[in-house]
Amino acid sequence: MPPPVWHHAEGSTPVSFLDFSHITKTYPGVKALSDVSFGVDKGAVHGLMGENGAGKSTLIKILSGDQHADEGEISIDGKVQAYSSTRDAFDNGVIVIHQELQLVPELTVAENLSLGRFPASAGIIARARMLDDVGAKLKSAGIDIDISRKVKTLSIGERQMVEIAKAIMLDARVIALDEPTSSLSSRESEILFALIDRLRGEGKVIIYVSHRLDEVFRLCDSLTVLRDGKLAAHHASLKDVTRDQVVAEMVGREISDIWGFRPRPSGNVRLKVDAVSGAKLKTPAGFEARAGEIVGFFGLIGAGRSELMRLVFGADPRSGGSISVDGKVVRATDPHDAIRAGIVLCSEDRKHDGIIQGRSIEENINISSRRHHTRFGVLNRASEIATADTFIKKLKVRTPSRKQDIINLSGGNQQKVILGRWLSEQGVRVLIVDEPTRGIDVGAKAEIYDLLYQLAEVGMAIVVVSSELPEVMGICDRILVMCGGRINAELSRDQFAEKAILAAALPDQKTPDAIAS
């Protein structure tokens, strides 16, 4: 399909099916969007990219009716949309699928898809008709899921399918997907992409928000890049656009080598993990990390990497094995024991295990380290303020004030605050970061890598758990590969090879090529 030609000269009438016109939105202290205009045609997949805090989420929220634009309007098919709630947007055929899925776990797929519109007589659900209706719709859309299963038994990928099925059931005209592949396996992503292709063929408008350039270039017909709430670029076609160009548009400068690897000498063994096991990690596993070394853990989702790290940090009870730091045995039965021994962990699930929502940046930074400067449990306000300000500045957290509720920050800035929490601890010797850059834009990524090098240079042992192969290969001195709860392979930097690492990460029956895409 040839990409549609699109023009939006200042003052001209909108010509696109879905049209954003001069959208402006201000939050207290932040201009989230300013004068953003672009259009998307029917039957197109339109990418929406930008760093965290660039305004993508705000734009999607306005599209979904969750928030109101201060100025500007959205029109669909030439008709200005003036909806005041998500329900209105729904009824107008606009459906947004968020990263956090909105399904009822205890209900079946069919029930979830019929929720709010149950076929019923006298209040009694016509089960057979419901199953027929839903089954027929899903079949025609090419979605293959057992609709009598409860949603809680589905994988994340399958749940995402159900969300999209919901949009299909409602005959949506515009479907916006916010980071849809962030928690999907490669295979699940493939199924999703096939479905998106199908929807495009049916003439839907798809807005695809993602950080992943690969996906955007593969899927999208056109692309909008936002930066600091402004339209940084609009590409009506991706034919002559390069990835480097898009990255530059996103960050506003050229990033040549995002990894920026810096070799450094490593010292003695800092962390020694010997044959630890627990309820979620049956096979005992062990590894070492030296002072100044960055050790990567690669594997597929569910390979046991996070489970191992949680055992090391004392977040889950350990049933066997031992852990020592600088030769001293750590009796970590709870995170605060591990923290006192100098081991800290940034969890992969920032929202659930990291940020303390409703509390300020200042409190989120000081929560652990404040015990060093209290007297009889009474806080030292001056030193807390100083600590917060130091790390906000040092880690370049973008915020109007240290008093800002952490929930209002973008993902990258939240991650920086959590790193600040651990760096403000005195005497951290081992820093474990689990998926440190998940959902984080390119610019912030480079900053976080740089920080990891700096910390390694001063003698910390750093363990990086990541599902992104280029990332572990780019920044680590050594990679351990896990598969099915076991450490399968260990490679030093001169041995790094994509094929070998993938082969070790995959269960025997699969070939590396199946996932290498």
Binding site: Y27, D334, I356, R359, N366, I367, R370, R371, L379
Partner: protein
């Protein structure tokens, strides 16, 4: 103009502003309201609710709940009177009451934090168990106080202000400080904000929760002693329904039931609004049955206001 008004009402200090306006209106419209005597009476009427609200605030801020406070207050009052009578020492009686309160609170905390039983269920159970103890200990009857000195706890005055009001004021100060300026207070708010993240940040979540409930017990003990002294006996049926008044006052004061949000000034205002409403209605001779309705409506309005404020702040 209306924008500015909205900003003030929905701002951080909106509740205080509303309180001041309400206070001024009631002072102007209700005869005999703004007199020394009535003011002291008003404050004395909120002593029990106010004292218990101090720690209930911590409980709610940590996403917990305590229904057993009314029973503990009655039980502690009984213990204070009976132990004083038996030993002849008021001090021993007071210590025994506080120890009993602390013990019940501690048990609540251990069951909730260590055995992971829902706080609502746990304290619903202890609420009944402790009330049962109070009734058994006294055989269901009020127990008179032997030593007249015991009455002095409630009757004595300092600078013309009755002791219980001083106790209330001191506790407000102490717990305001604890909430804002101590590790314990900040950890409480953090646990309410996100318990799992707090644990992974090194906060000892279980013991913080146990401490909160134990403190709640201690404070209920103090409230029980003052109540017994004021009603000049240990009453096993005292303070029925206290838990609901206390929780109402906290919610009225902007404490979030979802945890993570609480201020001492808010709770003080919440307690006073409840007190003023009741006081004004008494002065206006409004029958007690109608007062229930008014209290309910005030609570609903406060929660609605809080909701508006949250959405104005852009949070859900």
């Amino acid at each position: 103009m209306t924008d500015q008004l909205k900003k003030i009402l929905l701002g951080e200090q909106g509740l205080v502003v509303i309180f001041i306006v309400a206070f001024a209106l009631v002072s102007l419209l209700v005869p005999n309201f703004l007199t020394d005597r009535n003011m002291l009476g008003l404050l004395q009427s909120v002593v029990t609710v106010g004292i218990v609200a101090c720690t209930m605030m911590f409980c709610l801020a940590a996403r917990d709940f305590d229904l057993s406070v009314g029973s503990i207050v009655a039980f502690a009052g009984m213990v204070a009177v009976m132990a004083s009578n038996a030993t002849g020492s008021i001090l021993l009686g007071l210590l025994a009451a506080i120890a009993c309160g602390a013990f019940v609170g501690f048990i609540n905390g251990v069951v909730i934090a260590k055995f992971r039983i829902n706080a609502l269920i746990t304290t619903l159970a202890t609420m009944q168990i402790v009330r049962g103890f109070a009734l058994i200990a006294s055989d269901g009857r009020a127990v008179g106080i032997n030593s007249p000195d015991f009455y002095q706890l409630a009757l004595s005055k300092l600078l013309g202000i009755p002791t219980p009001i001083w106790v209330l004021a001191v506790l407000f100060c102490i717990f305001g400080f604890v909430l804002n300026r101590t590790v314990f207070g900040k950890n409480t708010l953090a646990i309410g904000g996100n318990p799992e993240a707090s644990r992974l940040a090194g906060v000892n979540v279980d013991w913080t929760r146990i401490w909160i409930f134990a403190l709640q017990g201690v404070v209920c003990g103090i409230a029980g002693i003052l109540l017994a002294s004021r009603i000049t006996s240990g009453q096993p049926n005292a303070a029925v329904g206290l838990e609901l008044s206390v929780i109402s006052a906290c919610v009225l004061g902007g404490v979030s039931l979802a945890g993570g949000r609480a201020t001492m000034s808010g709770v003080i205002v919440g307690v006073l609004i409840m007190g003023i409403a009741e006081n004004a209605m008494n002065l206006l001779n409004i029958p007690a049955f109608y007062q229930y309705i008014v209290r309910g409506v005030i609570l609903l309005l406060a929660v609605l206001l809080d909701n508006l404020r949250s959405s104005a702040l852009g949070r859900r």
